[in-house]
């Protein structure tokens, strides 16, 4: 469950961003979880909402929405766009585990299905990103 470390990062980054924007309360945080990192969305939402102590009063009552984002690759050599389903096989367990910890290791384990190159860009669906933080204005504090 190294996902806790990422969930903790999401909460802290959301608070920092909200504070920078002058929010007094966060109502919802939308997180996109990339398919490449193979994090279960339900489990991640649970870590955010139930397991980790919010720590920050800004997050009191905040809702966390976790969305899965399909992975998209683009081969720099032959220009092919491809997804997880275009790859031969699922990858070994060790490869999947490696990409779960460090998504960039896809370049060690996956190859472009057309030309065989490891030189592809991950254009979407890499890992954990915050796609939206919604909240309410501080009455007294503007952006810092």
């Amino acid at each position: 469950m190294h996902e806790f470390a990422l969930a903790d990062a999401v909460m802290k980054a959301a608070c920092r961003a909200a504070r920078d924007a002058g929010m007094s309360r966060i109502t919802s945080v939308t997180v996109r979880v990339g398919e490449l990192q193979q994090i279960e969305t339900a489990l991640f939402e649970f870590s955010l909402s139930e397991v980790l102590p919010a720590g920050d009063p800004l997050l009191e009552g905040a809702r966390f929405v976790v969305e899965a984002e399909p992975v998209r690759f683009h081969c720099r050599v032959c220009d092919l766009g491809f997804g997880r389903g275009d790859l031969e096989g699922e990858g070994t367990d060790d490869a999947l585990e490696a990409m779960h910890f460090i998504p960039e290791l896809c370049h060690a384990f996956l190859r472009c299905p057309r030309c065989g190159s490891p030189d592809f860009a991950v254009v979407a669906g890499r890992g954990v990103t915050i796609s939206a933080v919604e909240g309410e204005d501080s009455p007294d504090a503007g952006p810092t």
């Binding site: 469950m1 190294h2 806790f4 470390a5 990422l6 903790d8 990062a9 999401v10 802290k12 980054a13 959301a14 920092r16 961003a17 909200a18 924007a21 002058g22 929010m23 997180v31 060790d94 585990e97 490696a98 910890f101 460090i102 998504p103 960039e104 290791l105 370049h107 060690a108 384990f109 490891p118 030189d119 890499r126 890992g127 954990v128 990103t129 915050i130 796609s131 939206a132 933080v133 919604e134 909240g135 309410e136 204005d137």
Partner: protein, 248 residues
């Protein structure tokens, strides 16, 4: 009411937190390859651990990781807890991409290197450490720039050999780091064979302390992978003195 904020990378927000329990952070560099950054980093970490300090070692050479070979780390994935746990290796808390990709090549472009580094910073649970050693890859690329940009309190230890082609490259690295006013602990010579003064003179010309020389040691190769034998080399004896000087 402010509009929704979008596309925030959560990882940068926790780098400081993850390193909060770490006393000092020492980045070993020199910008040229093959000057002993890795054997010195691993041996420094081991020497400090032997002296009772809590020490971590992060191997940042993703295409040629070798800290795990030098210290003889166990195979297999690291443990997972609140984050990823470094592997205790001869008393050193070691983290390396080699734990995740032990045999395959890891071809990465710069932005991918930076992405993997940030991920490691965000998820590795170092806990309480007196010292964390960063073993840098050659070059002044994404890793070196992100160590400067992201790692709080980092101090640089530079290595050089007395070869002209190495000195030229270390000189450029020194010019960069001193220009940026990044803390430079000093410059040590490695692979010393003759009595050349080139490295100490280079340090002096930048006002950077010369930290002594580590001898070329023909017995080092056979000691790699076995901390017990490593400790018995003349090279390690010199690293131990260096460790003492740096933590004194």
């Amino acid at each position: 009411m402010p509009g929704p904020l979008d596309a925030v990378d959560p990882r940068a927000a926790v780098v400081e937190d993850r390193l909060a329990g770490v006393g000092r952070i020492v980045a070993v560099t020199g910008s040229k390859g093959g000057i002993g950054k890795s054997v010195v980093s691993a041996s420094l970490a081991l020497a400090w651990a032997d002296a009772g300090r809590r020490v971590g070692l992060l191997d940042l050479d993703f295409t040629s990781p070798c800290s795990h070979v030098i210290l003889g780390a166990d195979e297999g994935f690291p443990g997972e807890g609140f984050g990823v746990d470094p592997k205790d290796t001869a008393g050193v808390s070691l983290m390396s991409v080699a734990f995740f990709a032990p045999e395959v090549a890891v071809p990465l472009r710069g932005d991918e290197v930076a992405g993997a580094f940030l991920e490691l910073l965000a998820v590795t649970r170092w806990g309480e450490l007196d010292l964390l050693v960063l073993d840098l890859p050659p070059g002044l690329g994404d890793i070196a720039l992100d160590v400067v940009r992201l790692v709080p309190r980092v101090e640089f230890l530079l290595l050089s050999t007395s070869s002209r082609v190495v000195l030229g490259s270390v000189e450029r690295a020194l010019r960069l780091l001193t220009g940026l006013r990044v803390p430079v602990l000093g410059l040590a010579e490695n692979l010393q064979q003759g009595n050349d003064q080139g490295v100490s003179r280079l340090g002096a010309s930048f006002g950077v302390p010369f930290l002594g020389a580590l001898p070329y040691d023909a017995g080092l190769e056979d000691a790699l992978g076995d901390p017990g034998r490593l400790r018995a080399t003349a090279f390690f004896a010199a690293v131990r003195r260096l460790a003492g000087r740096l933590s004194g």
